[in-house]
């Protein structure tokens, strides 16, 4: 094939993406070295002061980061287990297969913040149905105002919202598996459990890794659900890194400091996701 044409295909997309992104990324790095805030808006140069402050004098950022890690790892594990179970159940013929497939996909098509508005009324402590039904058992958990329970409310909402995405990726994977290993297992008379452990799961390992990584990337961005559901509260008990950076940067207008946090956060994300991907590959593929 002709040599030059390939650039005409590749470059429009590549250059638009680079064109839109190059400025923000360079700017974040430069901004993080400045003391830009609402009293002093401007790109002065203050060296690494912001980073020193971040690493020595801001436990709130690191707490929000560990909270984010807890929330995203927990939700992704739950999503993986439930999503795999659901995908496995509607993979082969069951009654109303297509109905269930569509139904299980629906939550991911709904706007998270808008559904969170509904969830807020759903978990309302005196007027919501959850506590009304639970009152039969004489309990009334404070879904949105208890520091511990609020985390689980966020997890419930996230699992509802994004298990469908995991389900979609895993079902697509299951549908693409070759038929021969299953025939062989059937001839050997393997039980469903053994078939799952020795055939389905190993075949699904590469797809599982892909799906988990994709979901971890998306889950690490948890922010709008938290904003609408609890506004990071009570106190800071559901505040994630993104939300804290948002407060510092776009509420208090400490742009310089927020930029240094977001750059640090980006680097940590890239490093930890790379490590997780390597570890998962090792464990699941036994390489």
């Amino acid at each position: 094939m002709n040599f030059k044409h390939k650039y005409f295909f590749l470059f429009p997309g590549l250059f638009v993406l680079i064109g839109i992104l190059i400025f923000p990324i360079i700017f974040v790095v430069r901004l993080s070295l400045s003391g830009w805030n609402s009293y002093n808006p401007g790109l002065d140069y203050i060296g690494f002061e912001n980073y020193i402050r971040l690493f020595t004098d801001d436990p709130r950022f690191w707490e929000s980061f560990f909270r984010l890690s807890f929330l995203s790892v927990t939700t992704v594990i739950l999503q993986y287990v439930i999503g795999f179970a659901l995908a496995h159940m509607v993979w082969k013929d069951i009654k109303f297969k297509r109905f269930f497939r569509v139904l299980f996909l629906v939550p991911m098509m709904t706007t998270p913040v808008i559904m969170t508005v509904i969830w807020r009324t759903f978990f309302h402590e005196s007027l919501g149905p959850v506590n009304d039904l639970l009152s039969v058992f004489g309990v009334a958990p404070k879904w949105l105002t208890d520091p511990v329970i609020a985390k689980f409310t966020v997890i419930i909402v996230e699992v509802w919202q994004w298990t469908p995405f995991m389900f979609l990726l895993l079902l697509a994977g299951l549908l693409s598996l070759p038929k021969e290993p299953f025939l062989a297992a059937a001839i050997d008379g393997a039980s469903p459990v053994r078939k799952f452990i020795y055939v389905t799961f190993p075949l699904m390992a590469p797809i599982s890794i892909g799906a988990i990584i994709i979901r971890l990337i998306e889950a690490s961005k948890i922010m709008d659900t938290v904003y609408v559901l609890t506004s990071g509260g009570p106190g800071t008990s559901t505040e994630t890194s993104s939300f804290y950076i948002f407060i510092k940067g776009l509420r208090e207008f400490q742009m310089g400091y927020a930029a240094s946090m977001s750059f640090t956060y980006l680097i940590i994300m890239i490093i930890s996701l790379t490590i997780i991907a390597k570890v998962l590959t090792k464990v699941l593929l036994k390489e």
Binding site: M1, H5, F9, L10, F23, A172, I207, I214, M223
Partner: protein, 282 residues
């Protein structure tokens, strides 16, 4: 053993179905309630627990001056931004994906896979990292609080998805069909437009659906980069939530906003069942 498995399977499916449907049902019943049936204790079944009325739905079409919630303009803004950004992303993403699937690139140590990874890796970027520079950047060129500014930002969100799905899809379209077209005297652009694209329609539809989903559900950028001139639907509804808007009109507007994407769920399921999504995630 087998019976237990089947029982557990259906039990789990039923439990999950209830969980999935519950918030929708709650929103649907709430949208027909009035003050007494929301604030006077929890009510569930229309006509038994409370007398349904259409107040929550009527508010949606009233003008704001008469106490309506005015979601029609944000609705069309959202549709316009999502569709335009998706279309641009699909066009640019498909061209790049075709190049990455069919030709080999090499610049130093950068090869095809690295370029593909560069596209896809943009999804790793936390929105908050981009939001501050975008905020300052768009305000410096007067595109803050405008539809154009949002479209530019959404292209960054959506193009990686388009490239991701289309590279895999083109890899499954046999190379022979382009080669035959070239031998028949087409130039590479004609071969792409007349032969490859018509054979890639399922991939284009799947990529388009994903772009629409991730464009339509975005809240963060719309929230940060627009204020009063343009409002997108999610921002508008969240704003309703924090004001004194009653639950019934809130529920009605939420249902109206999630409705169009239910159609997308049907389309995605159809292409999923045909096996068109399988390559995309390896």
């Amino acid at each position: 053993m087998n019976k237990l498995y089947i029982f557990l399977k259906y039990f789990f499916i039923v439990v999950w179905t209830v969980f999935v449907v519950a918030p929708f049902l709650w929103a649907l019943t709430t949208s027909f309630k009035d003050f007494q049936s929301v604030n006077g204790g929890v009510t569930y079944i229309p006509w038994v627990d409370f007398e349904p009325n259409l107040e929550g739905w009527k508010v949606l079409i009233k003008s704001p001056a008469k106490g309506g919630v005015d979601i029609i303009e944000p609705y069309f803004n959202s549709l316009f931004v999502t569709c335009t950004a998706s279309l641009i992303s699909i066009i640019l993403g498909t061209l790049s994906a075709y190049a990455l699937s069919r030709y080999t690139f090499k610049a130093g140590f950068v090869k095809n896979n690295d370029i593909t990874f560069f596209f896809i890796s943009q999804r790793i970027m936390p929105p908050i990292v981009l939001s501050i520079p975008f905020f300052l950047f768009l305000s410096s060129i007067n595109l803050l609080d405008s539809l154009t500014g949002l479209i530019v930002v959404y292209i960054v969100l959506l193009m990686p998805i388009a490239v991701w799905i289309m590279v895999d899809f083109f890899n499954k379209v046999p190379r022979e069909i382009d080669e035959t077209a070239l031998i028949d005297g087409c130039n590479p652009y004609q071969a792409f437009l007349k032969v490859v694209l018509p054979n890639s329609i399922p991939g284009l539809i799947v990529a388009g659906m994903f772009c629409i989903i991730f464009g339509w559900i975005d809240f963060f950028f719309a929230f940060i980069l627009t204020f009063t001139e343009v409002q997108l639907l999610p921002v508008k509804i969240v704003a309703l939530n924090s004001s004194v808007t009653p639950w019934w009109s809130l529920s009605a507007s939420a249902l109206v906003s999630v409705a169009p994407l239910i159609i997308v769920a049907f389309i995605v399921e159809r292409y999923l069942s045909k096996g068109n999504l399988s390559g995309a995630i390896k």
